[in-house]
């Protein structure tokens, strides 16, 4: 029972990180039907920036803030410089450009920051919390991870739902033609979408790196899990990506905990879940496509 509680809680924590990565992918997918393969590498790069800032200033929170800001700037800059020229070209062009972004950033990180594993500090204690005498399997920092992702995704969801800028982004995503004819500067909206995606990715990078170490391809696995979570959720739905992240986090945590030699099976379990979801609901759990076809 205690084991189950521990696996559940740690599954939720990792699930929130997958959710953040998934949401960053969904933000870009919704606007341009493009999967950004460079998302993980962008997060890795901004986390390296954070570690350098923390090392120089001694302040975790300065590094944290700089990472998020760098994520937003990097996202916007990538969109403006290398993605925008691929618009109105065959879709494969943009895909290849994002794969190029992935290799470029990982190479640059190796040159600038070195290839060795670096430990990334946590904002709070990583000692396991206890309820009474029972170890919960999560730390104060894990609680911070879950709360941080919830706050940021909640704020984003509220902004999308209730603000004029959010309405502009949704209109541009659902119907770029009508949006442009109504006066919405869709190109600018897409840049903002990339900035927000970069910010979310940076958040995921800073939150996950204390448990994974940081090295040039350290975010690759997280990216794959985030992508899986996004597909489970339907790629189109912000709520879906959070639910998908949580489901995947829990499933992987139980698999890693209960299965014999579970840890090595985790990627296979993720693949299995992906296959089952795609067979049962090809559009993902929260996809709107089925509704739209009626």
């Amino acid at each position: 029972m205690v084991e189950f509680l521990q696996f559940t809680l740690s599954g939720v924590v990792f699930g929130m990180i997958y959710a953040a990565v998934a949401l960053s992918l969904v933000l870009i997918w919704r606007g341009t039907r493009l999967l950004n393969y460079g998302q993980g590498a962008m997060a890795m790069f901004t986390t390296f920036v954070a570690i350098e800032v923390i090392y120089r200033t001694g302040s975790y929170w300065t590094g944290f803030a700089v990472a998020l800001a760098a994520g937003a700037v990097l996202g916007a800059a990538c969109q403006l410089t290398i993605i925008r020229p691929t618009m109105n070209k065959p879709p494969l062009n943009a895909v290849i450009v994002t794969i190029g972004l992935l290799t470029l950033l990982e190479g640059l990180a190796g040159i600038l920051f070195g290839g060795q594993y670096r430990s990334f500090p946590a904002a709070f204690s990583v000692t396991g919390l206890r309820a009474g005498g029972t170890p919960l399997g999560v730390s104060r920092f894990d609680v911070f991870v879950a709360v941080a992702v919830l706050v940021v995704t909640g704020a984003l969801a509220a902004a999308f739902r209730y603000t004029s800028a959010g309405l502009r982004m949704r209109a541009a995503a659902f119907s770029p033609t009508i949006a442009r004819l109504s006066g919405i500067r869709v190109a600018r909206v897409l840049t903002i979408g990339w900035a927000l995606a970069g910010l979310l990715g940076a958040l995921a990078g800073v939150l996950v790196s204390p448990s994974t170490f940081l090295y040039p391809d350290s975010m690759d696995t997280i990216f794959v899990f985030g992508f899986t979570a996004a597909v489970i959720g339907g790629l189109d739905s912000a709520v879906g990506s959070v639910v998908g992240g949580l489901l995947l986090g829990l499933a992987l945590s139980y698999a890693g905990g209960y299965l014999h030699s579970g840890a090595s099976l985790v990627p296979l379990v993720a693949l299995g879940i992906l296959v089952v979801v795609l067979m049962v609901r090809p559009g993902g759990l929260f996809s709107a496509t089925a509704v739209r076809r009626v």
């Binding site: 004029s164 209109a171 119907s175 033609t177 109504s182 006066g183 500067r185």
Partner: protein, 253 residues
């Protein structure tokens, strides 16, 4: 309105417009002028270039040559975002609501071309709310469904929503592409009545593209007939409707 006054005070004048897609030239030197607060019907068979003409005027495609004159300035080559700010609203074919948004959100999208309140000269929140109220008063069925998704509306209600959204941009010129397409005859008549109202009572210049030439000429002041990307006839509506040869050749009635 007689054709003389129409040509004397054009709100929108298109001169020698050439436009197309890739290697295909869909408009080959088209000139039309739409009189202020008048209804100009653009008629012709499929592939005549009617939709391309509207798309070029609203900036959805870039004309290769020619001028688009509105209020003295040449707008050819501007983007749709700039065209709507200059006063040209385009309702594309196919009841273009955004189905994933609510009725009210669709209407708010119509005000996105308004100057932002942040940049000074912007309109206050109250004015936006008043504009929404006005839209609901004109279209009561939309008020009832304001919180419902646009995908839940009937065909007639969707057309209402699309026109209401276009009007919220406060256009001087409204481009309507087949607004009666796919509607029941009774609803079609309501939409046509609405178009007349917009020009007569609100002084909006209307360019109406219609497959249903008889219905369009019944409400239009002026008509232009396109064939294979060229103007083959332009006259006041009764003259076009009375020209038997033209009707048989190009208009199918």
């Amino acid at each position: 309105m007689s054709s003389e006054t129409v040509s004397a005070t054009p709100a929108l004048a298109v001169e020698e417009l050439v436009a197309g897609y890739g290697g295909v030239t869909a408009l080959n030197g088209v000139s039309i002028s739409a009189g202020t607060a008048a209804i100009t019907a653009v008629l012709g068979a499929n592939g005549a270039g009617k939709t391309t003409l509207l798309r070029a005027v609203s900036g959805m495609i870039r004309p290769r040559r020619g001028r688009i004159l509105l209020g003295g300035g040449d707008l050819a080559g501007r983007s749709p975002e700039q065209m709507v700010r200059a006063g040209i609203a385009h309702v594309p074919e196919g009841q273009g609501v955004i189905p994933e948004l609510t009725v009210e959100e669709n209407l708010r999208v119509g005000m996105m071309s308004w100057p932002s309140a942040f940049r000074g000269g912007g309109r206050p929140r109250a004015e936006r709310a008043a504009a929404l109220d006005e839209a609901y008063q004109r279209f009561p069925p939309l008020a009832v469904r304001r919180r419902k998704l646009a995908s839940s509306l009937s065909g007639g209600e969707r057309q209402m929503l699309v026109i209401a959204r276009a009007l919220l941009a406060r256009p001087r010129v409204l481009l309507l592409d087949e607004p009666s397409l796919g509607l029941a005859p009774r609803i079609m008549a309501q939409v046509m009545d609405l178009v007349v109202q917009l020009s007569r009572e609100h002084g909006i210049t209307i360019v109406l593209v219609e497959q249903n030439a008889r219905g369009a000429l019944a409400i239009a002041d002026h008509g232009v007939v396109l064939n294979l990307g060229r103007v083959v006839a332009a006259a006041d509506a009764p003259t076009l409707a009375a020209d038997v040869a033209l009707r048989h050749h190009y208009l199918g009635f």
